[in-house]
């Protein structure tokens, strides 16, 4: 009795084993992630909708839609992702703290955030008025965190004199409405949503605080690009096409934006006006991030320039654009 | 001497859901206890001796009949009635002396005064040195002495004792009987003493009521009439014992304990 069971198992393994191997070896989709309700990453959704990935010969598996950048970086650590659209600041921090090993292959957008105060707030007229107030950021070491501190410094205000707390962007709007916070800074479409809901108004846009600042980037796992550079290239190509498409087909882009963020058309339209979609990698901006994160003590890098050189990999992008 | 406790036509029925489950515990019990007497009650197990005590104590309600203390009707738990339980029922979280002084504490007696009074009992009852011990550290005999002290310190008019020495071994039992008698000689409390041990009833009681099986009634009340200290193996004592035993056996044959 026992012998026949063993024989059966052995046979099963013989069949299943190679089959699994072959099934795995054939065109496995690229595992990707994006952020939830983030209009910055519209290019991904456009590429998906218009079939740009397939046209470039690859299939993409959206493994996860995450609530914040650090969670995407954790997924990279766990080996669950090949590529992702993510904020440049969390990506920098993760790599600098040796938690994940990714490189940037294209920019996704610059600007596209805003500092929002309550609609009926008459007390706060400028950044300097934020002294002693409570301001919410999406997380430490995020782009928005950096923007806020930079803007406060420009207004000659010590960031320590402002009560900075961390909230998830969806909670920011209700916190603003119930008066638990005086202001928040978040990525689009949340500031626009606050405006269309009649809850908030922009005190400053991120473009106003730091013109042309980099925001989201397209990253890939270092191990993945080493083994499957052609696939990375295909995704970058699709990303470039999608980004161009947004410029030439604004209305259609808005429709796709509504579908992907789940927000209403008026909000998406307003949000997109605040975002600059681009694929050109902003090197100076990244260097400023590294300086900022080091100053705050969130990362420790001996050779900042060397780090940036390793982290930003514009070669594939340049090849595509030269064609 | 006057009558301290009088029981007239006492009935107790536990009403059940069906006629079969109605329990008739006593069917009209009558007896009285003189002041300063030790009144023993013996009977087969399950006949309702404990229920009788609990009715007098006020822990359960009678169905009908009279319970009179010094001529006045008793209702509920009267503070003039004290009870010593077979399981001692000492408060485990209180030290020995704190257990003794509970009744005084409840009355609102000043702390120093009640402590002095309780310590007197500690000395008189041979518990010196253990006043700060917790009940878990005491032997069975000691615990029962504390329980008795706890009851007597309140000077109740009637002391009910429900098989107080039932949990003790026979050596300690004898010692405790003598202890009880010694205390009683000085205080002359009125005691209603329930036991299933005939030897004990004869050694301790002035009068002994013998109960029949359920529904219990009094078969006979014996007047012991012997001087103390009694002889555990004396001729007179043995005669009374055998009379009681005969009575119990006869009633068991007629109505086997249910």
């Amino acid at each position: 009795m026992k012998r026949s069971v063993l024989m059966l198992l052995f046979l099963a393994l013989l069949v299943v084993g190679p089959a699994a191997h072959f099934a795995g070896a054939s065109e496995s989709p690229i595992r990707m992630a994006v952020l939830q309700s983030d209009i910055h990453q519209l290019a991904f959704w456009v590429a998906l909708e218009k079939g740009f990935f397939t046209k470039n010969g690859v299939s993409v598996d959206l493994v996860g839609v995450f609530k914040a950048g650090p969670e995407i970086m954790t997924a990279f650590s766990a080996g669950e992702l090949d590529m992702a659209y993510v904020g440049e600041a969390p990506a920098t921090t993760a790599v600098a703290n040796k938690a994940a090993n990714v490189v940037v292959v294209a920019q996704v957008n610059t600007e596209g955030s805003a500092l929002v105060i309550a609609k009926d707030n008459t007390a706060i007229k400028s950044l300097a008025d934020l002294k002693g107030k409570m301001v919410a950021i999406p997380g430490h070491s995020t782009v928005q965190d950096f923007l806020l501190r930079k803007a406060l410094k420009n207004a000659r205000l010590n960031p320590a004199s402002v009560n900075i707390i961390v909230l998830k962007p969806p909670e920011m709007i209700s916190a603003l409405r119930t008066g638990q916070i005086d202001a928040f800074i978040a990525w689009e479409p949340h500031p626009s949503k606050a405006a269309t809901m009649g809850v908030g108004q922009n005190l400053a846009t991120s473009g106003g605080m730091w013109p042309g600042h980099p925001c989201c980037v397209l990253v890939t796992d270092k191990g993945f690009i080493a083994k499957q550079a052609e696939k990375v290239r295909a995704v970058v190509a699709a990303h470039v096409q999608a980004t161009d498409y947004i410029y030439h087909n604004a209305e259609e882009a808005i429709t796709i934006g509504v579908k992907s963020t789940g927000m209403d058309e008026a909000t998406v339209r307003k949000a997109m006006q605040n975002v600059h979609f681009t694929y050109e990698i902003n090197v100076e901006g990244e260097k400023e991030y590294v300086r900022f994160l080091s100053e705050l003590g969130l990362i420790r890098i001996d050779n900042p320039d060397g780090f940036v050189d390793q982290f930003l990999q514009p070669k594939i992008l340049r090849d595509i654009l030269h064609q | 001497m006057s009558i301290r406790l009088e029981i007239t036509d006492l009935k107790k029925v536990y009403a059940g859901n069906t006629p079969e489950t109605v329990i008739d515990v006593f069917d009209g019990m009558n007896f009285s206890i003189q002041q300063g007497q030790i009144f023993s009650i013996v009977g087969p197990s399950g006949c309702g001796k404990t229920t009788l005590l609990r009715l007098i104590a006020g822990l359960e309600e009678k169905t009908s009949g009279g319970i009179l203390l010094d001529g006045k009707s008793l209702t509920g738990c009267d503070e003039q009635v004290g009870m010593v339980f077979q399981e001692y029922a000492l408060f485990p979280w209180r030290k020995l002396v704190e257990n003794i002084e509970v009744a005084l504490e409840i009355k609102g007696v000043d702390a120093a005064v009640r402590r002095t009074m309780a310590m007197q009992y500690v000395r008189d009852f041979g518990l010196e040195g253990f006043e700060n011990a917790f009940p878990k550290e005491l032997s069975g005999g000691m615990k029962q002495r504390v329980a008795i002290a706890r009851t007597l310190i309140a000077n109740p008019q009637v002391v009910l004792m429900d098989e107080p020495f039932g949990s003790l071994d026979s050596q300690t039992r004898n010692v405790m009987q003598e202890f009880l008698l010694k205390i009683w000689e000085e205080r002359k409390d009125t005691i209603l003493f329930v036991t299933h041990n005939v030897d004990e009833a004869v050694y301790v009681g002035d009068r002994i009521a013998v109960l029949s099986p359920r529904p219990a009634g009094i078969l006979k009340i014996f007047d012991v009439g012997l001087d103390r200290p009694r002889n555990r193996t004396g001729k007179e004592e043995n005669r009374i014992k055998s009379d009681i035993l005969q009575l119990l056996n006869a009633s068991a044959a007629v109505r086997p304990p249910s």
Binding site: A68, P70, M73, T74, S77, P90, T93, A94, N97, K98, A99, A100, A136, G139, H140, S141, T142, A160, N163, I164, I165, V166, L167, E171, S174, A175, T178, Q180, I181, L296, G297, L298, I299 | A57, G58, L59, C77, E79, V81, G82, M83, F85, E87, A89, L90, F91, P92, W93, R94, V102, A103, E105, I106, K107, F134, P135, K136, R150, T151, A154
Partner: protein, 251 residues
């Protein structure tokens, strides 16, 4: 003999260090004990977020837990004594208790913030919910577990309501109450970390500290923070055990 109990954890630590040092466990998945120790040093000296030192995080977290726990004690013990004693009261309140009890404290976070705002009150509320039910249920059981003969003895000694409550019910139920208290503080302390994820004023709290370390991917500090949380929980329980040993030394 007490020394022997330390041997298993130390062996585990050595094994962990060995596995990390040889690369069997990669550093980004699980930092080595040495790295965690360095992370702890950072938490103490530099702080996370930088400038927010560990001892202040501990202070604020303890404050929140203490408030929530004190509220739980003050409400659950008296209510439990009442419900344990009176069948009618118990029948009235028990259905409500049984409906609310299974809801995890963390599920209350959005409501809590809505009602109490972002701050110590909403965090204390979450902890209150976590600690309340174990204390309540154990108190009720404690009262029900008092030997009936003790209650009768008290009646025979003519105990009034107040004496009964303070000198029979409370000490009689105390062993169970203390058990409930130990379970309650355990649950409360565990709920704290998650309660602090959702926003703390002043930027101090152990949960907040760990969340920030997570945001910047400092897993050495995350683990160091977890160990601190565990150690404090252990310390609190040890204190309660000491109190228990004294309060029910009569057992």
């Amino acid at each position: 003999m007490k020394g022997k109990r330390i041997i298993p954890p130390i062996m585990l630590l050595l094994l962990w260090q060995l596995l990390s040092a040889t690369g069997v466990i990669p550093a980004f998945k699980l930092p080595s004990p040495v790295q965690v120790a360095a992370g702890l040093a950072d938490l103490i000296g530099t702080g996370m977020p930088p400038g927010h030192l560990l001892h202040l995080h501990v202070y604020y977290s303890l404050q929140r837990v203490l408030l929530g726990y004190a509220l739980a004690l003050a409400t659950a013990v008296p209510l439990g004594l009442l419900m344990g004693w009176s069948r009618t009261v118990c029948a009235m309140i028990e259905p409500l208790v049984e409906i609310v009890r299974p809801i995890p404290p963390l599920a209350w976070i959005p409501l809590s913030i809505l009602w109490f705002g972002i701050g110590i009150k909403s965090a204390a509320f979450i902890i209150f919910l976590g600690a309340f039910f174990p204390i309540l249920l154990n108190t009720i059981n404690g009262v029900r577990g008092i030997e009936p003969v003790l209650i009768e003895a008290a009646r025979m000694l003519n105990a009034g309501r107040r004496f009964f409550f303070l000198n029979v019910l409370v000490p009689g139920a105390m062993p169970s109450i203390l058990t409930g208290m130990r379970i309650g503080i355990g649950v409360g302390w565990m709920s704290l970390v998650a309660a602090e994820f959702t926003g703390v004023r002043q930027g101090y709290g152990l949960g907040y500290m760990i969340m920030t370390a997570r945001d910047i991917q400092r897993s050495d500090e995350i683990i160091a923070g977890m160990l601190v949380i565990g150690a404090i929980g252990l310390g609190i329980d040890a204190c309660l055990q000491l109190a228990e040993r004294y309060l029910i030394r009569w057992r």
